[in-house]
Amino acid sequence: MWWKILLFLAMSALIVLSYVTPMPQKQIGEASRIFYYHIPQAWICVVAFAMSMVFSIRYLRSHNIGEDDKAVVAARLGFVFCLLATITGSIFARVTWGSFWNWDPRETSIFILLLIYGAYFALRGAVEIEEKRASLSAVYSIFAFVTVPFLIFVVPRIVPSLHPEDSIVDENLKFTMGPTVRTIFFSSLALFTGLYFWMFNLARRIQRVQRIRLEKEI
């Protein structure tokens, strides 16, 4: 319980701090504050989808339905954070590059991630038998994920990237951020990660309650 209260207080502090401290990037201006949110969201999206993949592989090995439950929770949360990262990124793109959507490589990859998981949920909706649904969607998510490295390879050759690559580290892998910005940024990363695991646990508890209820009905 205590860590949830702590998380709430810290998150509130983070929101305030992200607006009252000096802006992270002078050229871009106030809009650059979005990076305190955008990058942690993208990070959580990657963490969640990676977890979903791992649970899917574990399901195929053990055929334990609990693994599938975890995979779907992670995928759902990943999808939400992926949407958030897309929206915040798109706002940022409007301010800095002049349009909401440019098919920049990052935009293309995140769009395809959304498509993959959109398809994943469509597939889950189309299979009624639980075990079948679990296996088929696990296979699909693994298979679709195999194509992601291709995307990273093929897209930048065709569309040059506008995405700022030096927002965290420069070419020499040195931090480009000042100490204040760095502190807020890493706290934000940590807090979003904490928030994600909180949401993950909540969703798992709901699933378990549903399973118990289903069991009692029969």
């Binding site: 055929h63 038998i129 639980e130 075990e131 399973r211 289903l214 069991e215 009905e217 029969i218």
Partner: protein
């Protein structure tokens, strides 16, 4: 000596229990009849043993002389006949036999095909499409396909469904032969077929 060992087998569909605590062991020369009323899970049990469904609990072991058989070894030594098992309607009887033999990695000669067709009472109908067969003839052809690999494990679900008196006679002869030279597991709710097997496994109450 082939053997089949079922231990603590249980199957649930989601929260619904189908059967639990099934135990039996069979060896070459053995036979068992799985009996019980409609909906008692006979077909489900057969499917679980055949590896078509995953058990919720327990194990199914196929072994040869005490050594566990791999999935593909088991597949090549097993045959199954059931009303819900379908062959290809748009292939002829012979083509079906040739296909199921080839896909298992075997080769079947024209002579063997004719012998099998005669055995199940389908002489002269081998070149007709299955679409033109009656349901009883289709059931007979399933027996011909099942005998292709001279199975060491023969599984039959409702062995005489759709068959006429003569067909039933053919089946009882066949079971008689195979329960001696290999092993027969049959699921049925016809009391006169209980006698096909030495052991009985009763499901549902």
């Amino acid at each position: 000596m082939y053997s089949l060992k079922i231990e603590n087998l249980a199957k649930r569909f989601g929260p619904r229990k189908v059967f639990a605590d099934i135990n039996f062991e069979l060896q070459t020369g053995g036979s068992i009849a799985i009996v019980g009323p409609n909906g008692s899970g006979k077909s489900t049990l057969v499917k679980v043993i055949l590896g078509l469904l995953r058990p919720t609990l327990g194990t199914v072991g196929f072994s040869l002389d005490g050594k566990n058989m791999t999935e593909s070894e088991t597949r090549s030594r097993t045959s199954f006949v059931a009303p819900y098992l379908s062959l290809y309607d748009h292939l002829s009887g012979e083509e079906n036999l040739k296909f199921f033999s080839a896909v298992a990695g075997d080769h079947v000669t024209g002579k063997e095909i004719n012998a099998l067709l005669a055995r199940v009472g389908l002489e002269g109908r081998g070149t007709d499409y299955l679409a033109d067969y009656s349901s009883g003839m289709k059931q007979r052809l399933k027996y011909a396909v099942a005998l292709l690999n001279k199975p060491d494990f023969l599984f039959l679900d409702e062995p005489t469904s759709n068959l006429d008196e003569e067909g039933k006679g053919m089946v009882s002869q066949l079971v008689e032969q195979y329960r001696k030279q290999s092993m027969v597991v049959l699921a049925t709710n016809e009391p006169q077929e209980y006698g096909f097997a030495e052991q009985i496994c009763r499901l549902g109450g």
